[in-house]
């Protein structure tokens, strides 16, 4: 039996010599939305946009309609998808963003179809395959100055609020408290806080140290030493690596890994370097999507491939819900794997909400990896 169905239809008309008007409809069992967007044919730039709701799920969904205008001025060029997801998806609604992406792609294909028709009129023997092979959507004239009056700056991203702390998470009891999971800007594209400001905030809070774990980014030891000396603060290096099984925090592996790596391959490298691997936020977003209602048990979750390749599990993460942290802790218990804590800080105001308390002194990355292997630590709730 069918459980869900979503239809999207796009219709593109050439409403002026350099205008493509795209009408799009998205309709499924939960949402019904429609949009009209006018693109310039030459530059594939959005000149105007409007939307309408037919069906939605919360009383505040209609607010999204007022937030569509930052799409005006966006062009179908590299980065279009990310911009739409960030500006329209977060500022308005991800279903409108989804529809707008589809409409943009339809506008691009409509432009290609028009240009093929024009080329074929001049060269009747031109095949579609040969035309497409040479066609580039960015062969567009420079942006017309007159169009710039439509452009509005995208709304700045809203900082994510701090996750409420897990009420029963243990508090530090005098050991050395280190935040093992911190992102900084611009090393992590998703982060907004510069490292100097994060360090100052961490010091003010009383955190004893932190590990920068920027996504697939390795800080140089010189940069880290300079920052340590400048702030008189324990700053260490780690990495958050994207694997086929999700994000993994790695300590003690000084290697620049680009893109996505198979977790088994990462494991081999970490073992060779005598490093340490922690499965980061293993159930992030999982319980919110309804999987809990499907009856996932701790025992079933513990069978996941990811847990066969790590030394520990992040059981207190500042970006997930208390339920998701709690579930991760139960899985760690079931597997007899140790748990760590980290804020997963991406912006100011979140550093140190969770951290890891060590019973030994940590002064270097070697000390950190040694203490992790020795199990001399526990996850703690540090900041309210």
């Amino acid at each position: 039996m069918l459980k869900y169905l979503r239809n999207k239809t796009m219709s593109v008309d050439r409403t002026a010599p350099d205008e493509l008007t795209v009408f799009g409809v998205l309709d499924d069992d939960l949402y019904g939305v429609e949009m009209t967007a006018v693109f310039s044919q030459s530059a594939l730039e959005i000149l105007s946009v409007s939307g309408k709701w037919h069906r939605y799920t919360t009383p505040e969904c209609p607010r999204a309609l007022d937030m569509l205008q930052p799409a005006v001025g966006m062009r179908l060029e590299p980065g279009f998808r990310a911009r739409v997801a960030k500006v329209i998806g977060r500022g308005a609604c991800r279903h409108f963003a989804n529809l707008l992406l589809e409409m943009g792609h339809a506008a691009k294909n409509a432009k290609m179809a028009i240009e093929y028709q024009e080329a074929a009129a001049l060269d009747p023997g031109l095949s579609l395959e040969a035309f497409i092979a040479d066609w580039r959507p960015d062969q567009a004239p420079p942006k017309a100055a007159a169009q710039s009056i439509h452009v509005k700056a995208p709304a700045p991203p809203q900082p994510a609020p701090e996750t409420p702390p897990l009420a029963d998470a243990p508090r530090p009891s005098g050991g050395m408290v280190i935040d093992l999971h911190v992102h900084t800007a611009p090393a992590s594209p998703c982060a907004s806080a510069p490292i100097d400001e994060i360090i100052r905030e961490a010091k003010d809070l009383g955190v004893h140290g932190m590990v920068v774990t920027d996504h697939n980014y390795v800080w140089t030891s010189d940069d880290i030493k300079r920052l340590r000396d400048k702030h008189g603060f324990l700053l260490l290096r780690g990495n958050e690596v994207i694997t086929d099984q999700g994000d993994v925090l790695v300590y003690g592996l000084e290697r620049d890994i680009k893109g996505v790596i198979r977790i088994a391959d990462l494991r081999a490298q970490v073992i060779e370097a005598k490093g340490f691997m922690v499965m980061a936020h293993p159930f992030r977003g999982f319980l919110i999507t309804g999987a809990e209602q499907m009856g996932l048990s701790v025992e079933q979750a513990a069978q996941r491939e990811m847990f066969k390749h790590v030394d520990a599990i992040e059981v207190l993460n500042g970006k997930v819900t208390p339920d998701e942290n709690g579930f991760a802790a139960k899985v760690a218990d079931a597997l007899s794997l140790p748990g760590t804590g980290g804020s997963d800080c991406h912006e100011m105001g979140t550093i140190g909400c969770y951290a890891t308390e060590f019973t030994v002194d940590i002064n270097s990355e070697a000390d950190l990896v040694q203490a992790l292997h020795a199990g001399s630590y526990r996850p703690v709730r540090f900041r309210d």
Partner: protein, 167 residues
Amino acid sequence: MANPKRFKFSRSRCTSVEAAGDNLLRTVCRLNDMFCEMRVTVEVQLPDMEIKKVEGAIERCYDPAEHRAIPLLPQLAGIRVGPGMAKIFKGLVGEEAADSQLLFMVEEACHGVILSSTKDMAAMAPNEDDLPAEIFQSMAKANTRLIGRCAAYAPESSMVRGALEEG
């Protein structure tokens, strides 16, 4: 030459999710327009939401990049449907297929699985008009990751404002 004002381009995309027995969901994304007719089928095992199988099929498509993407899709098996899956998909298939329409169709198919779960949850709620604001506020409070995720959950929204004041 054809009258430019008579130009028309149409596209339809349909994503469906069906129960395929023994905690298995089969989700299919179909795309049809002037240039292509393609289909992606993804099988997802519950309750772990793990992708068991991915298949792509091209009935008609003039873009060679899509044809090159077809043999790369099966390697997406083993990934869990959920946050972060898109970047994993792109990373695993590599640059050659990262921007292909077929890969986007895999993502659409997997989003269908998530939305089918949401639909199941929504079906248990009473009529929307009857829901007091506190229900949405408690949702926002329990799942703070929702806050700032869209206009409905923006900090100035009544659903969030109430949750933050309460908290």
